[in-house]
């Protein structure tokens, strides 16, 4: 499990790419269907390389995410590290599950993240917000999670053994 140079570069590049894709401006109707790429990539690495990307790195990624979205600093940092902690706690179980079930669990975590983010960003201060967009991002996770595996799993195995 010793991280080599290529592996670290792969992790860095994948995280940067995830952030870039997530920040792309999309029309308002499509925006809710944008998967939470950064969170999913962090979770992927927490699941497969917990020695390198753990709670601390997830926290850092959340902090950068906060600055990018203009939300209060610390809000997404808190959620990212909590969800990474959940993934780490259930790591053995999740790795043993087939891909579909894994994706289901991860999309549940994304849903949890969405609701807690809604609370931290003050979504409930002006009546009930529209909940559908948040369900959309959990649903699309079912597709995005296998896609991330297709993109990263082989490279990960080749570079890090």
């Amino acid at each position: 499990m010793t991280p080599n140079h290529g592996g670290l570069v792969l992790i860095a590049i994948s995280l940067l790419a995830a952030l870039t894709v997530e920040l792309l401006p999309l029309p308002n109707t499509i925006q809710p269907w944008q998967p939470p790429w950064l969170l999913l990539t962090v979770l992927f690495w927490a699941l497969h390389r917990p020695g390198i990307i753990g709670m601390t790195s997830a926290w850092g990624a959340g902090l950068v995410y906060d600055a990018a979205l203009g939300s209060p600093l610390g809000a997404h940092a808190l959620l990212f590290c909590l969800i990474a902690a959940l993934i780490l706690a259930a790591q053995r179980l999740l790795l043993a599950l087939p891909m579909i079930q894994q994706a289901l669990w991860v999309s549940l975590l994304v849903l949890l993240h969405q609701f807690m983010a809604l609370i931290l960003e003050g979504g409930f201060s002006h009546g009930t917000p529209a909940l559908l967009p948040h369900l959309a991002s959990a649903l699309i996770t079912l597709l995005a999670w296998p896609l991330i595996h297709v993109l990263l799993l082989d490279k990960q195995r080749r570079l890090m053994g």
Partner: protein
């Protein structure tokens, strides 16, 4: 389970520490505004990504401009010439009125109005938060942009600067749920507060009594109260009035005049007292109102 209960980094104690640090940061940032430095630092790192992400739409706009036919360009040119002529004739009376206004104020020994400097900026189209309505612009602390500064477009007020990086800044738009702006009805001078609703095209007017003289179609302008926004810029048009059956205040809706979704050019305003020298670093494209 082994990972969660490991000692040291990665263990539950470490998690608790991260949670505490996040909560501290969250409070320091959202309530006390102590973390502007850290945010500026993060925004510096994010700037290349944001510029990269904004590149396709900026390029698309350029391509659209280059590929315009000669006829469209000529039509646009003719329209601009006409606009220019109209504005110039209006400006002639404006200067003399302003001189007269100044003289009258001096006679009345009234305080001099604040003078304004403008700096043009452009929007960087980047995704914003699910709930907040913000706009990233390509000017920052290095251009003298500061938090709380008013941002205008050609059609009306856009909002105010909430976060500043070295070369980028974030503008909170009028229609964000947490934005409020002091306004007055242009026709009657009645003052009120216009608050964003989070919906694209609607502001709500607070604290307007049931019997106030407001009609649909009334223009709302900045009142200059509170000092955040310069006085006399158009904000919104009243679109809906419903007098409340119970309670003293009417429900009034208004539509923002500026195109909040896609403003081409953004002007940032500095206000200074007439005696003070310009507080901003003089840039070549800065426009000084006389």
């Amino acid at each position: 389970m082994a990972n969660l209960f490991r000692k040291g980094r990665g263990g539950p104690v470490w998690l608790a520490m991260l949670v505490l640090v996040s909560l501290g940061l969250y409070l320091a940032d959202s309530r006390l505004h102590l973390t502007d430095g850290l945010r500026g630092w993060l925004m510096t790192g994010l700037e290349p990504i944001q510029r990269l992400v904004a590149l396709p739409s900026v390029l698309w706009r350029h391509v659209g401009e280059t590929l315009q036919t000669r006829a469209t360009l000529e039509a646009e040119n003719a329209r601009l010439k006409q606009d220019n002529l109209l504005l110039k004739t209006q400006m002639q009376t404006f200067w003399s009125m302003q001189e007269e206004n100044k003289r009258l104020r001096e006679l009345l020994k009234a305080t001099k109005p604040l003078e304004q400097d403008l700096l043009l900026a452009q929007a960087l189209p980047v995704r914003d938060g699910a709930l907040s309505r913000t706009l990233l612009i390509d000017r920052g602390a290095q251009d003298g942009v500061h938090i709380g500064q008013a941002a205008l477009s050609a059609d009306g007020v856009l909002g105010q600067v909430v976060h500043v990086g070295p070369r980028t800044a974030e503008v909170l738009l009028l229609n964000d749920g947490s934005h409020a702006i002091p306004v007055r009805v242009a026709r009657t001078g009645q003052r009120a507060i216009a608050r964003g609703t989070g919906e694209a095209d609607r502001l709500e007017i607070l604290h307007m009594p049931n019997n106030a003289d407001v009609r649909e179609g009334d223009l709302l302008m900045t009142s200059g109260m509170g000092g955040g926004f310069p006085e006399g810029y158009p904000v919104a048009v009243v679109t809906l009035i419903a007098t409340a059956q119970s309670g003293p205040f009417a429900t009034i809706g208004a539509r923002p005049l500026a195109r909040l979704e896609d403003p081409r050019e953004i002007a940032l305003v500095w206000m200074r007292s007439p005696e003070a020298p310009p507080s901003t670093p003089p840039a070549s494209e800065e426009i000084h109102d006389p």
